[in-house]
Amino acid sequence: MSEGFLFTCEAATLLCAVGILFSRSIFTSTMLFLSSCLGIAGIFYSLDATYLFVAQIAVYGGGIVVLFLFAIMIAGQKEQTSTREWSLTGLLPPALLFYLLISRIDFSTTSQKDTIAYTAEETGKIIFSSYLFPFELSGILLLIALLGAILISIQKPESHEN
């Protein structure tokens, strides 16, 4: 895969993420989040992880962003912030963390040529051979999380509001 595609995906993802930080409308933020997730899917594709490329689009574009939109639909969009929410004191800790992370990166490592490309076929083989039990367990975890979400958000008939 060409390096230009990877750079484009990285730049688009970062631009969308910064846009989330400074956007005033929650709907715009969700759409920018969707585009940054699509950019990350492009990065997965250029790293030869094709299964993750499809899974990222399906999970984030089809699942999580729809859940966010559902929540916005329920809660309404009336609370648009008129004043800016970010401040310099709030941006200082992430900047310091970024400096710390960058200073620890070892730029001298290069990739070996004979590594496995994790295509969809290879990933499926690994999932259903050596990682079968954790995969089934994660299905049970998903079921429990869905039941918990229903239990939390259900409105009991006897409880009175506020």
Binding site: E10, L47, F68, A71, A75, T81, F98, L101, Y118
Partner: protein
């Protein structure tokens, strides 16, 4: 500088943007988006390292995607419950929660 080091810079920058979202914004949906961005940056790192070293980091990303879905579902359920109670989606409303 090679392509690999730009990916590491990218993922650390994405993580810091997610942290900045968590620290600055007040809307609960914004906080959830920040957590998802931090998870995504970790995923990019894992895929990159599995490409370099040939370990099964890709499988870890598959499980992390499942965890992200669970977290979003439960987090949005909590958001809906809090919105119904406080009639506001601001996280500052929730600082008054005490066990009576």
């Amino acid at each position: 500088m090679r392509i690999e080091s730009t990916l590491l810079i990218f993922s650390s920058l994405l993580f810091c943007i997610g942290l900045a979202l968590l620290l600055n914004r007040k809307n609960l949906v914004h906080l959830l988006i920040g957590i998802e961005l931090m998870l995504n940056s970790a995923n990019v790192n894992l895929v990159y390292f599995s490409k370099i070293h040939g370990e099964d980091g890709v499988l870890l990303v598959v499980f992390l995607l499942l965890i992200a879905v669970c977290e979003a579902a439960v987090g949005l359920a909590i958001f809906l419950r809090a919105y119904r109670f406080f009639q506001s989606s601001s996280a500052t409303m929730m600082k008054n929660i005490r066990e009576s």
